[in-house]
């Protein structure tokens, strides 16, 4: 029987609680009166109105209001949204944290006062996972240009030694760290949870730090690391330790603070340089809050998201983000993404990827993942407005300023998996402070980053329903009208003739057997299940969108992968369940009535059954939202055999763009790093590295010379090839 979601108002009245401000030590804490802490929430599935509109009119817009707890350090809570009436505390708050009730509002957040901090740093900067806090992955350096990039050569390479192919005692490694350049040093985190400081010009070790962290894949199918973060005091005191700090997270939820000059732990940070983030893992603590993504550093705030174990449990730790003081590790605020009333019977909706920051606006933008379990939502039929969203949060207080939900009642694991790229764009002659959120779905959502409102209309459109026990489907989903989707999710992919021929028709038979009514076809139990296109690995992955602010061109790599999802009742699942890999195989969703499987549509030779291309590099003119060019990227590779580059490759990782008109990117299966023309998309240069380079490259200048650095670590989603190589390129120096 088709069921519809509770109307927004009922759900909200039931307590859509999203914001928890956790108190600092009592000596500093100061409770304030109830103030509205508003937020605009994305379209409510219950709304069901297929209208066009922004954050304000695309469905239920909820604010949060109520008792908040804050500190002297944090500015007094302000009505950041909409002037809505505060609902007051719900009475459930028994300690330092309080839960806000929600209300509806139809107004934009109050304009924020912009501080005079440019969105794009004036100087060349690459001191974070995405280069800069705006996540543009843009370098103003122009020594290397489209004309001379063909001449660049390897300057040095470094092998960390921290690699495992899984054949021994250690789990396989998945290494996606972007090197960061700061303090005249290149800092690298490793999947064995070490930090290595290198001389940027020569690759010589300056120091190393070993966290001695457990090398068990506690929450992941592999040992993972996406690098380190860097903080520097505003006025560093000469000779004083820890004026510059490198932060490293570990699989077992510890955050290390290390002196960037010496590699020694910072004694004043938490417990002698180690913060146990798992101390805040208090609900459904089935596994530790793995810190695989480096935290986001803005001002003196270290903002921490975490990763967990997908697909294993119905009930899991509910999504949270923590802000701690950069010097002391003291907790400043916590943001919860799941309403308190249902927090115990679901989980995740966490931030496991990078964030972006507009320091001028004082906002951090959080890409929030889907709730658990990922492929069945019968335990979470209430609204979870912040799940699978982009949520803008006040850096100082943790208050939600606006939020846009990109998938309602997500049952496809369409986590928002990359930091939104902040960009100022000129549309119809007006400059708009925008952000672009790339998604696993292959949609690029563009909204005003001050208000969350649409830049180009984002429509709520009806989507298919289903009939799985206990499930309550969202009747509509948001569809952007511009830019066009990165792949066609409306039609089921066709069988690729060559793979079909090689499999004696098995590919076409498989694809024909899969249910598909467009991307939002819900998982089913019957037959071979439902086609997932794009699948949970995207679309776009954590590399996100690069942006050249001078030409207002966005660049993004995408994958076109066909998987199929099937649900099994518990009895059947227990009978047939086999193993699982990285985003493929059998997963129990323990506690839910259904286990599930997720498989890539390959033939017996391992050839993809669906039509190419399998991955593309796409450039978008942000003045119009139109595609400028798109080309297949890389080459798919199996057993060493390369498929023609015209077919492209699935990609993980992302691009960097430079003022020299060059795009640098690894990301492809074939373990090559490449340079493309920003103007035309033409491939200009490539080199073979040790394994697929599945992070963003770093572009930096050291002693007057421009360098491009890649880490080649591999990812088993692409193929079983791992590496530990850091490789740095530059133009030859004149003798």
């Amino acid at each position: 029987m088709l069921k519809f979601r509770l109307p927004s108002a009922i759900a909200l009245a039931a307590g859509v609680s999203v914001l928890t401000l956790t108190a600092l030590p009592a000596a500093k804490a100061q409770e304030t009166d109830s103030e509205a802490t508003g937020q605009q929430l994305g379209a409510s599935p219950g709304g069901g109105d297929a209208t066009t509109g922004g954050a304000l009119n695309s469905g239920g817009n909820a604010g949060t209001a109520g008792e908040t707890t804050t500190t002297e350090a944090a500015s007094e809570p302000q009505a950041t949204s909409n002037g809505s009436e505060a609902n007051g505390a719900d009475g459930s708050d028994s300690s330092a944290s309080s839960t806000a009730a929600a209300n509806n509002s139809g107004q934009a957040p109050a304009p924020r006062e912009r501080r005079d901090i440019p969105l794009v740093p004036a100087e060349s900067t690459w001191d974070g996972f995405h280069g800069q806090l705006n996540a543009q992955k843009y370098s103003p350096l122009d020594q290397i240009t489209a004309d001379n990039v063909g001449e660049i050569e390897k300057v040095w390479e470094y092998h960390t030694g921290d690699v495992s192919d899984g054949s021994g005692d250690l789990p396989t490694t998945v290494w996606s760290a972007t090197p960061i350049y700061a303090n005249d040093t290149l800092y690298i985190g490793t999947p064995f949870y070490r930090v290595i400081a290198l001389d940027p010009a020569t690759g010589e070790e300056k120091w190393t730090f070993d966290s001695q962290s457990t090398l068990k894949a506690l929450t992941q199918p592999a040992l993972k690391n996406r690098g380190v973060a860097y903080w520097e005091a505003e006025n560093p005191q000469e000779g004083e330790a820890c004026q510059k700090i490198v932060y490293l997270g570990t699989m077992d939820a510890r955050l290390f603070a290390i002196d960037a000059d010496t590699g020694k732990p910072c004694e004043n940070f938490a417990d002698n340089g180690v913060l146990d983030v798992n101390q805040w893992n208090t609900t459904n603590a089935r596994w530790p809050l793995s810190l695989l993504q480096p935290p986001t550093i803005t001002g003196d705030h270290v903002i921490i998201g975490w990763a967990g174990m997908d697909w294993a449990y119905e009930e899991a730790p509910p999504g949270t983000v923590f802000s701690v003081n950069a010097r002391t590790g003291e907790l400043e605020w916590t943001l919860d993404f799941i309403p308190e009333a249902i927090r115990e019977r679901t989980g995740t909706a966490n931030v496991w990827t990078a964030m972006s920051v507009d320091e001028g606006l004082g906002l951090v933008y959080l890409p929030v993942s889907s709730p658990s379990p990922n492929y069945w939502g019968g335990n979470r039929t209430e609204e979870i407005p912040l799940a699978t969203s982009t949520t803008a949060v006040d850096i100082e207080t943790g208050e939600v300023v606006w939020s846009r939900q990109w998938v309602h009642h997500d049952i496809w694991d369409y986590d928002i998996n990359s930091a939104p790229t902040l960009m100022d764009i000129t549309v119809d002659g007006k400059t708009i402070p925008a952000l672009m959120q790339a998604t696993k779905m292959g949609f690029l959502f563009v909204v005003n980053r001050e208000t969350g409102e649409d830049v180009w209309p984002i429509e709520e459109r009806p989507v298919p329903s289903g009939h799985v026990e206990g499930e309550v489907y969202a009747p509509t989903q948001p569809f952007p009208t511009k830019p066009e989707p990165l792949l066609d999710q409306a039609e089921k992919p066709k069988a690729w003739w060559l793979a079909d021929l090689a499999s004696f028709g098995a590919c076409s038979r498989l694809i024909d057997s899969l249910h598909y009514e467009g991307m939002y076809s819900p998982p089913i139990t019957e037959g071979n299940g439902v086609a997932a296109f794009p699948d949970s690995s995207g679309g776009v992955q954590w590399g996100g969108v690069a942006y050249d602010p001078t030409t207002e061109t966005a660049v993004v790599n995408t994958s076109h992968i066909l998987q199929y999802i099937q649900l099994y009742d518990r009895k059947t699942y227990n009978e047939i369940a086999g193993g699982s890999g990285n985003e493929s195989g059998f997963y129990p969703q323990e506690g839910a009535p259904f286990g599930m499987s997720l498989k890539v549509a390959l033939n017996w030779l391992g050839m993809p059954c669906w039509e190419p291309p399998y991955g593309e590099l796409v450039a978008i003119d942000m003045k119009t939202g139109d595609i400028k060019w798109r080309h297949p990227i890389g080459s798919s590779q199996k057993y060493g055999f390369y498929m023609p580059e015209s077919l492209g490759s699935p990609t993980i990782g992302g691009p960097a763009v430079t003022a020299g008109g060059v795009i640098f990117i690894g990301a492809s299966m074939d373990a090559k790093v490449r340079a493309y023309s920003l103007e035309t998309g033409e491939e200009l240069w490539s080199d073979i590295v040790e394994a697929p380079a599945v992070s963003n490259p770093a572009v930096f200048e050291h002693d007057g010379r421009q360098y491009v650095a890649f880490t080649a670590g591999g990812n088993t989603i692409l193929k079983d090839q791992v590496g530990d190589q850091v490789v740095v390129y530059a133009l030859p120096q004149d003798e």
């Binding site: 057993y639 060493g640 055999f641 390369y642 498929m643 074939d670 373990a671 090559k672 073979i688 590295v689 040790e690």
Partner: protein, 123 residues
């Protein structure tokens, strides 16, 4: 009447062996050396094995004295060389492709000459 391989067959077989040895060395290099793109891959093992088999094929061709055996070794040689050539193309092993072209030239040389010379005919 004794038979022995014609000089054309002998030369052709020697070229096959030479090309296949070069192919084997290249394939082994590609398998062992870091950053060739196919280091340690199954595909590289495959062309190592096929190159070794082509060496064996050349040796057998050298000793083939009957039209039947010569035909078998030529056929297997062509299949092996063309297969390795195709594999090398998909492996982006372009020097290996060149080695396989040499093997193919050797096979064509062996094919183009009379199947065998008889002692009588040579008198």
């Amino acid at each position: 009447m004794s038979r022995h391989a014609s000089s054309g067959t002998t030369e052709g077989a020697l070229v096959v062996i030479f090309g296949a040895i070069i192919g084997l060395i290249i394939a082994a290099y590609l398998y062992i050396t870091p950053l060739t793109g196919i280091t340690g891959s199954f595909g590289a093992i495959l062309v190592i094995v096929s190159s070794a088999l082509l060496i064996l094929d050349g040796v057998m061709l050298l000793g083939a004295v009957t039209p039947g055996s010569r035909g078998v070794w030529l056929t297997l040689g062509f299949l092996g060389a063309l297969g390795t050539l195709a594999a090398a193309w998909f492996l982006h092993a372009f020097f290996l492709m060149a080695a396989m072209v040499v093997v193919l030239v050797g096979l064509v040389m062996a094919l183009a000459r009379p199947p065998y010379a008889t002692a009588a005919a040579s008198r």
